[in-house]
Amino acid sequence: MPGPIIRIRGLCNAFGDQIVHQDLDLDVMEGEVLGVVGGSGTGKSVLLRSIIGLNAPAAGRIEVFGQALAGLQGNARRGLEQRWGVLFQDGALFSALTVAQNIEAPLKEHLSLSRALMDQIAAVKIAMVGLGPEAGSKFPSELSGGMRKRAGLARALAMDPEIVFLDEPTAGLDPIGAAAFDELIGSLQRQMGLTVFMVTHDLDSLTAICDRIAVLAEKRVLAIGTMADMLRQDHPWIREYFHGPRARAAGVWTETPGT
């Protein structure tokens, strides 16, 4: 039975007077795909940024791989950071580098591999995320939004991480592209045994690939569980979210839900 790979206890985040999280607890299990949903401004991205250490929390304890990131310095911290990959919303590719150079950037920074091996790893990652070999020498500004996301995912996978954080991976993609991206994440997750932490609004992604769903509201994790668990929740926001017309269109539920 795999244990929690990310453990959050009593997390508090505040910007000025505005409290985003208060006493937030969350466990992410090894090898699962966790979808994090919540209304705008409920701090989904802040939660993601807190876990990967971009945001220093006001209080609370965050453990990843059983280690608290806040207490680590220098090499130990870098060692931990190499074990996860992050896909930011619009890919956040380095605009001065080509796609292949973007993928090689973390390899170059942390390892001393031969030129040939790095190029081959970059080529494998480009193919893995479904980009053609011609994409390698292109600059991010020459790519479409969907290709930028794929390239960003390839960079997130460059160091063969154990956890991948995705911030709204399908936002801004057309339905076909979004479905293909879901499929891609799902298949990569199965093949590489990844743990995926995904902030999303996409009900299709939630049904298609998420093992569990965490709902952020009222400054904490209001509910966590499978889609079936979510459908049984009584909280008005959760009901509205998972029983709305868009949820029906996404095939979350088919028959009229019980009242």
């Binding site: 150079q101 591999l113 070999p133």
Partner: protein
């Protein structure tokens, strides 16, 4: 999960070579695994057996390394076999090898000579292009200015005052300090030279003429080009990147009227005032230096100043300021609007805005000198 790094052991087994891979074959160990694999040179046509049964973990980099060494060792005379692989490891190796397609890392650089010639030609054409479109931009702004003057309600007084504060009032300290120091330096250097002819009193003429006619306006323009020309380019450039300029056009708002005009007008108003401040500060610095090192008291300094400098000398300097201001603001806004694509482009165009506006200011200054000589002022 054990923490052993990936390793290769060679087990001699009769006439074939047996390799046992163990530990964690992942990207963190890739450097040492790659060099270990490179050292394997089995003699002749000795068959190779690769045993994967002791692998703890395999990631895509490890899988790629295994695939690559199989391909490297295999030849028509030599067979290479994998044994003991777990199903998921075998799948990963198969997937990675199936996916790989060599790809370009960066656009091919091409022939160096061809590149040099191409760049030369491209740059020449770019300069012509810029000259043409900058001229068009000046025309566009002028039309927009005339239209706004006909309907003064369309002028954005709020924006104009904001830019006047940013480009004018906030620039006062640095402009004052620089011209004060220039005044000191001019007197100090001039007195040293003129002392040889016993003509130290003429240092006041030297200071007054050079500062009022040329240095005051030139230095202030260069400082303002560095401060405000760059700010205009960067502000408008980042708005361009975030599609704010496109949003304006889509909403039927004219970016030239909203972004460019207020900046041009405000700079044309404040630069002459800044030049006036700079003139005064330079004269003050000079007067102070005269008093300290040449024993010329302030009243004598003033007397001399009044007898040598007439009002046209002052106006010749100040009248150039609005023209220089227009050049600086137009260049900054023009370069800002040329931004496209990436953050790098903002930096490139900001640099260009500063360099071009300083260049244009100095060219314009030279033209003014010729004009003034012809007019006999």
């Amino acid at each position: 999960m054990s923490d052993t790094r990936g390793r290769i052991e060679t087990i001699p087994a009769g006439n074939r070579l047996e390799l046992r891979l163990s530990g964690r074959w992942e990207v963190g160990c890739a450097a040492e695994l790659e060099s270990a694999l490179a050292q394997l040179r089995p003699p002749g046509d000795q068959p190779v057996l690769i045993d994967l049964s002791c692998l703890d973990r395999l990631d895509t980099t490890g899988a790629w390394l295994i695939h690559r060494s199989i391909e490297g060792l295999r030849s028509p005379q030599r067979s290479v076999t994998l044994t003991g692989a777990r199903a998921e490891h075998e799948q990963l190796i198969a997937r990675v090898s199936g996916l790989y397609q060599p790809c370009e890392i960066q656009p091919p650089p091409g022939n160096a000579l061809v590149r040099l010639v191409t760049r030369l030609g491209e740059n020449a054409l770019t300069i012509l292009d810029i000259a043409a479109s900058f001229t068009a931009f000046i025309g566009l702004t002028t039309i927009s200015l005339l239209r706004s003057l006909l309907k003064p309600r369309r002028l954005r007084f709020n924006a104009i005052t904001v830019h006047m504060e940013a480009a004018g009032i906030n620039a006062l300290p640095i402009v004052s300090l620089i011209s004060f120091l220039i005044g000191i330096v001019m007197v100090y250097q001039g007195a040293f030279q003129l002392a040889r002819f016993g003509a130290q009193i003429f240092v006041i003429d030297l200071l007054a003429f050079s500062v009022l006619r040329e240095l005051g306006v030139l230095l202030t323009s260069i400082v303002v080009a560095g401060r405000s020309g760059s700010a205009f380019a960067a502000e408008i450039g980042s708005m361009k990147l975030h599609e704010e300029v496109d949003a304006m056009r889509a909403l039927g708002m004219d970016p030239v009227e909203i972004l460019v005009l207020p900046r041009v007008i405000s700079l044309m108003v404040v630069l002459p005032l800044l030049v006036f401040t700079a003139d005064i500060m330079a004269l003050l610095g000079g007067a102070m230096m005269c008093w300290i090192s040449l024993d010329i008291a302030p009243d004598l300094f003033l007397q001399r100043l009044r007898s040598t400098v007439d009002l046209p000398t002052f106006w010749i300097g100040v009248v150039k300021a609005p023209f220089f201001a227009a050049l600086i603001a137009l260049t900054g806004c023009y370069e800002g609007l040329q931004v496209s694509g990436s953050a790098e482009s903002v930096g490139r165009h900001t640099t260009r805005a500063v360099v071009e506006s300083i260049f244009l200011v100095i060219v314009a200054d030279a033209l003014f000198s010729i004009l003034i000589t012809i007019l006999g002022l």
